[in-house]
Point group: C2
DNA sequence: CTGAAAGCGCTAACAA
DNA sequence: TTGTTAGCGCTTTCAG
């Protein structure tokens, strides 16, 4: 077995408490003692046992991040940002993939399984919705991400979906586009609070503000938001012979798929069709043509979410803050796909 | 505090040991007792404390995965696959990003910090090399990934770099290309065992087998393997006025950047230049044109790596297997960028 | 400033 | 088949 604090104490000729004091940077340790202890630690190659520490202190130093799947660029970049942010707080990140499986999302929020080992959870649902709020509680440090559930008992970091989508469409209008298609609307009409619906709302608001009619034929239902589906929706749209000169795709992946289908069909971007996506994933900068997009403030979302979670973890039982809802600033990133 | 086994035992009217037996699916528990215990667990919302279990059993049920950064598609897809594979063994995955920082890679292999909480580590180095083998030991369950360090004391899952690179170039030769450029060679000539050098070796082998000369001007040094660098290398190559009709990019990200630069310069792919990448990331299927690539067997790499790690974790002290080196089969994936 | 000792929640001998 | 009990390695009162 690896050495314990007792071993270190014995080698350094001090008590186990002193070793603990040194490790935890407690102030009242004489310098010579400290050095002696550190030498012993070095000599033995001692590493604290985090399970024991976790058991004793009630903290593991690890937070959980539950996302649908890392294969999706948006989540990979989110996870990247979250891990970096957690690091600043000296926290590790246990990544759980729910794979768009409702039961696994339920398991994640109700604290079953592995995530019990964590001090708190960042959760980005894909299947749970507004009706599942009863599953949430504020007894475990928890920060909601995304826009599938609002008004729960926990902190929530999300984005300005409506206004940023509206800004995206206004960007297309500003370069003279009038027949703007949208791909990525959600099939299920009953659900209201989700990225798709909110972004569609922004789309409609922009058209209305510009005094343009809403042509339902230009609004295409697509789910899930994968490249192939974006390409397929665009092929359908082209095949349907409906006229359009602009496209707002509800995320970049859809937009990239659509770009592909437009290219195949010989439509030039942006000349024939100007395209804007949503998320501003890395890839948007390097597609051909490069893709205009909405940066929803992903890095800030990650940093804020971790920050809120840390506050909840450190919260004393009595001082309970009410749930907070935070939306970082967004930004329209104009690239070639909407160049004039 | 959340309920403990004692609470459950009290409510169920049994001893703590019986609760433990039920939780761990031990055989010798009467059915009625089992039911009573399970009811109590349900009633109290009891969840085992994994820190305590970890302390007692020496197992946390979590493995570590150390990669450079999830932002890179290849690693996001690898992490995705690893998490899925780990799940089958009922293991969680703590993801650590080393961000191409040598010291953080050293910290990861030497078991400093958070990764102490894990039962084993999958490690994909970017900065550590052959000379750092002394940092490795086989005392902690560990599986090496990638091709920066060979011959260490641990299991290692890697890929057929040379032969698959050779196959990629032969694919270009087979469609009649004769002036094949390579981008992504590594600047440092001293280091031998790394993806870049191995793939360059495959490139040379293919040319030699075809009786073609090696033109050093066609081999471009690029690091790191990011899109922008791929685009830049291609712009340089085009600007240098050297003739070429094929391109082997040492990874897909470079290839996608190069595709971009080729498009900008008005060179048609595959007509003017046929392009093949390496890794077969998702994106390759959806670029314009779609990108031919080498699938190095990523899913199998992930599954095998987790499998080997689990074996090491379960290994009794006495039966030590010698280090194993495993290379899954590769596959050339032909798409539009090398269509005839 | 340092030491002694209790106990976090669980598992696994050993007893009954 | 079930109960009792001794720690796993650490933090943390409380004394000294």
């Amino acid at each position: 077995m690896s050495p314990t604090m007792h071993d270190v104490a014995r080698v350094a000729g001090v008590s186990i408490k002193t070793v603990s004091n040194v490790i935890n940077d407690f102030p009242h340790v004489r310098q010579t003692t400290r050095l002696r202890v550190m030498a012993a630690i070095e000599e033995l190659g001692y590493r604290p046992n985090l399970s024991a520490r976790g058991l004793r202190s009630g903290r593991t130093g690890v937070i959980g991040l539950a996302v649908p799947e890392l294969r999706q660029n948006y989540f990979a970049e989110l996870a990247d940002a979250v891990i970096r942010a957690a690091e600043k707080h000296d926290l590790g990140v246990l990544v759980e993939q729910t794979s768009g499986d409702r039961n696994r999302e339920i398991a994640a929020v109700t604290g079953a399984g592995r995530l019990r080992l964590t001090d708190g959870l960042l959760f980005s649902p894909e299947r749970l919705g507004q009706d599942d709020r009863h599953l949430l509680s504020n007894s475990f440090p928890f920060v909601m991400l995304g826009e599938r559930m609002f008004g729960g008992p926990t902190d929530h970091v999300t984005m300005h979906n409506v206004s940023s989508a509206q800004a995206a469409v206004e960007h297309l209008l500003a370069i003279g586009r009038r027949r703007i298609a949208l791909i990525g609307a959600h099939p299920d009409q009953r659900e209201q609070v989700r990225s798709a619906d909110l972004r569609v709302k922004g789309y409609k608001a922009a058209l209305e503000a510009a005094g343009l009619p809403l042509d339902p034929q230009l609004v295409r239902v697509v789910a899930p938001w994968h490249r192939e589906n974006g390409a397929e929706a665009m092929r359908d749209l082209i095949a349907s012979d409906i006229e359009f000169d602009g496209l707002f795709a509800l995320n970049d992946t859809l937009a990239l798929g659509a770009l592909r289908a437009l290219g195949d069909a010989g439509r030039r971007v942006p000349d024939d069709v100007a395209v804007i996506g949503f998320d501003d994933i890395d890839e948007a900068r390097f597609s051909i043509p490069s893709l205009s997009s909405v940066d929803p403030g992903r890095d800030e979302i990650a940093e804020t979410a971790v920050q809120l979670l840390v506050e909840r973890i450190n919260e004393k039982g009595d001082e309970e803050l009410p749930p907070r809802l935070i939306k970082p600033e967004f930004r329209i990133v104009a690239r070639e796909s909407t160049a004039t």
